[in-house]
């Protein structure tokens, strides 16, 4: 990503490949899920090779299971490395999460217990990945629906400690901050204030849903609707604290027409311009 053009990008899903390949829509950059392109050939990777010539790309992994106590999956890492050599992305990111243990995979992003042991463990793994890729990895804070009684650190302390220990960058998902803040009763302002600005390289924005049961409620990170007003508020606060880093609109379920995603990206750019103007 060129530092001079951090307009909001769009998470690209397979249903929109044809639109992007044939219509060249106006979008600053795209991010794709790395694992969807772990293949030597076929339609997805062939489309991506066409798209990479026209737009900056970011590879966003969901399956490396960075926080797992199993040995690092070198086959998965090799696939990522091969994809990165082929696509030459501007950014490579993964999640600060685990999804497997004992060789069995949940294929979902599970939160870690926020302990010193987990800081050391996941930092060493991130270092390993950065060494193999020969570049910086960004790690994304996940949304979570549970907290561990074993945690000794706050989530924001954990994220900052891992970035400090491993030297990685941070992909700050502001919807995830809001979802977790509501689910676990913390203040998102306290979270943002603890994240070191020098490490933040990218923002994610997405929609969530609220579900209620027997008087209790949980926010679910559904990626199936527009960004909520509350998350736009956090976005403006984040732009003021962390500066104008690349922003991505994510939408995965009930995927709308491509133009709806472009409109979300333009809304993000509107907030960027407002915050910029205020700061000037």
């Amino acid at each position: 990503m060129s530092p001079s053009t951090p307009s909001a990008g769009i998470g690209l899903r397979a249903q929109h490949h044809a639109t992007v390949v044939h219509a060249n829509p106006e979008v600053a950059w795209f991010e794709v899920h790395s694992e969807n392109y772990f293949a030597d050939g076929g339609a997805p990777i062939e489309s991506l090779e066409k798209i990479r010539g026209r737009y900056p790309l970011s590879l966003h992994g969901v399956g490396l299971s960075l926080g797992s106590t199993d040995p690092l999956n070198l086959e998965h890492l090799t696939s990522l490395q091969r994809l990165a050599s082929r696509i030459e992305p501007a950014i490579i990111s993964e999640h600060l999460a685990w999804s497997s243990v004992g060789g069995r995979f949940a294929n979902d992003l599970l939160p870690l217990p926020y302990t010193e042991e987990a800081v050391q463990h996941v930092s060493a793994r991130i270092n390993h990945v950065q060494d193999v890729l020969g570049r910086e990895l960004l790690i994304e804070n996940v949304s979570s629906y549970l907290e561990f009684t074993d945690s000794t650190l706050k989530e924001w302390e954990f994220v900052a400690a891992v970035a400090e220990e491993s030297g990685c960058g941070i992909l700050l998902d502001l919807n995830n901050v809001f979802v977790s803040a509501c689910n676990h009763g913390f203040c998102w302002r306290e979270y943002l204030a603890a994240i070191p600005p020098a490490r933040v390289r990218e923002f994610h924005l997405a929609g969530h849903q609220c579900i209620e049961r027997a008087g209790a409620r949980l926010l679910i990170d559904t990626h199936d609707r527009p960004v909520s007003d509350a998350v736009w508020d956090i976005y403006r606060a984040a732009l003021r604290r962390f500066g104008d880093v690349p922003t991505l609109i994510e939408w995965d379920a009930d995927l709308p027409a491509f133009a709806v995603l472009q409109a979300e990206a333009r809304t993000a750019d509107g907030h960027r311009n407002t915050v910029h103007a205020d700061a000037a």
Partner: protein, 266 residues
């Protein structure tokens, strides 16, 4: 008063307890690790459990659309959930999660009227593998023309990277083709119509299904394991006395099933 030393479980112990609970759908040993207020631990876990099962089912349905079409969405969901309970994903890439599904269906419907389902699943798995493999230009026949005839026996042939060989005692390919989304709705397949032997190939987004006789199948299987032309010919002739090597080679090269040849170093 004695000070109680708090029990500090390791990260691995916590992960094992939580994943056990998520895959089994019961709280079990994960209970003490999960905060319960204001939302009960069981509800928190059920959110993840739901995601895990749905992601797995979606991946399986994407790999096996015709199995799903044949058995109906309700029964597919039931067998997919049972399969997941027995064979959870072993990879961070969900495309790989259905690898053992054909074997599972084979056990489930070993001797009943759905015994052909396992072969449909096997075919769909190979189709997915083929579709994700690299394309390759066809063999330049000039390369064959310069080969010294005395070295023919030892010649090696490279198969197209997307080539997958499939054989079934059922007309599995015909069933698969009749159940694709764009198929003619009225086609009726006779399960007793006989065996299907096929080379699956994928070029520029399109599948080629090259129907094979027993000699051609044996020939390609042998080449696929890295055996030389002489050995492959022996296998082919054992399967089909009338095997016509030069006609078969022409057919396989023109279909881009064979894409390269190499003379061994002496």
């Amino acid at each position: 008063m004695a000070t109680e030393i708090p029990f500090m479980p390791t990260l691995r112990e916590i992960q094992t307890a939580v994943l056990d609970a998520l895959l089994r759908g019961t709280l079990e040993d994960a209970g003490p690790h999960i905060a319960t207020t204001p939302v009960p631990a069981a509800w928190r876990l059920s959110i993840y459990r739901g995601n895990i099962v749905e992601n797995f089912l979606r991946a399986l349905a994407s790999t096996y659309p015709v199995v799903r079409q044949l058995v109906g969405t309700d029964y597919f969901r039931q067998i997919a959930e049972d399969f997941h309970a027995q064979s959870p994903s072993r990879s961070g890439d969900l495309k790989a999660s259905g690898r053992a599904f054909a074997d599972y269906l084979g056990e489930l419907h070993r001797d009943d009227r759905f015994s052909y389902l396992a072969d449909i699943a096997r075919l769909e798995w190979l189709i997915q593998e083929s579709s994700l493999s690299a394309d390759h230009p066809p063999l330049d026949l000039a390369r064959l023309a310069v080969v010294d005839p005395s070295t023919y026996e030892a010649l090696g042939f490279t198969l197209h990277p997307t080539l997958r060989l499939f054989a079934s005692p059922f007309p599995a390919l015909s069933i698969w083709q009749a159940n694709m989304a764009d198929a003619e709705p009225s086609v009726v397949i006779d399960l007793a119509a006989g065996a299907d032997r096929v080379a699956i190939l994928h070029h520029r987004g399109e599948f080629d299904f090259l129907r094979l006789n027993p000699g051609e199948l044996a020939f390609l299987r042998s080449l696929g394991t890295g055996e030389c032309f002489g050995a492959a010919l022996t296998h082919a002739q054992a399967a089909d006395e009338g095997f016509d090597a030069s006609a078969v080679l022409r057919r396989l090269v023109s279909a881009a099933a064979i894409v390269d040849c190499s003379v061994p170093n002496r």
